[in-house]
Symmetry: C2
Subunit: 211 residues, 2 copies
Amino acid sequence: MRLRTSFKAGTRRKLLHAAISLIREKGYSSTSVDELCTQAGVTKGAFFHHFDSKDALGVAAADHWSEVTGAFFDNALYHRHSDPLERVLGYLDLRKAILEGDIAEFTCLVGTMVQEIYNTNPNIREACEASISAHAGKIAADIAAAMKRYRIRGSWSAESLALHTQAVLQGAFILAKAKGGPEIAAASIDHLRRYIELLFQPVTPEKTEAP
Amino acid sequence: MRLRTSFKAGTRRKLLHAAISLIREKGYSSTSVDELCTQAGVTKGAFFHHFDSKDALGVAAADHWSEVTGAFFDNALYHRHSDPLERVLGYLDLRKAILEGDIAEFTCLVGTMVQEIYNTNPNIREACEASISAHAGKIAADIAAAMKRYRIRGSWSAESLALHTQAVLQGAFILAKAKGGPEIAAASIDHLRRYIELLFQPVTPEKTEAP
């Protein structure tokens, strides 16, 4: 998702958007405070007026990411479906549709950060975890409603399937980065969509083997 | 996968194993040449005798990772199954079984590196892509054989499903890092296994809705 920063945006917001942009391009560790200030068009004094450290900006960037992406998905059209299964599938269709532009623009800030800092920066890790779990929680609610509507009972839970959707998306981004384009990520979302469709088809006959 | 480095291992191998260990713990960018030398127990002069730069070590580490993990999976017991579908499912069971120890020990070197450097270091990106694709290629061969045996034709290909297994694993590692433990990754592998089982059940009746 591309974030637009207006010329008049406040210093704090400019730094948050610079962080979201630079970290998705080159990772957290190799993004310096100097680069963040240059990209945001603010002084180093202004940076330290708003943030005690680069790590504090990392936490704030994860929280800001949660707010911005949360609003984007809350306002998405798939919520118009009365059938909760259609909302789940519509969510995946949207995730596929927004795989466009540069890789840095469609990949995930918090997945990128937590990959690097999970063991070295517990505050950023927690903010990334909170972002992923809050997003998954909204999808879990639709999955739970769909399970009820279609009387699906599995050895899996709505929460587990919702977190799995996020695992697939995060892994799809890694393969897109390795391959240099979004096609492989779209293919993984297709597999995930097919899995959910299969889960909601209740009959599971025996497999047949070719003679 | 934990790599064991013997006291007598050569300098080059010690540095490769130090890279695999440190990069999985803290990412590529925040791993310095000094730390690599300290962990490997070698001098900086020895480092630059073997590698022109940290980036050269990054490429060599990805290639070494491919060799070590390739040998590990080539020698795994799931290959004993005559049914190729059992080999695919056995592969996933093994991937789940090796989710143990510290997170750094079961996560993926090349997925961690490509997440950070895809846009800034094309040589490392290529080595990571080659590692993921070569591994996926072996799984694709078993999936293709299973599709033939069970007469499965889908809108998906064996290659696409094999790459999807790698996307799920990579994303599962990210969620494990966010959550601080392997349970969530195991749950995603369970979902992937269930998906493949469903794909190989040929009948797809209409879904029924609760009244």
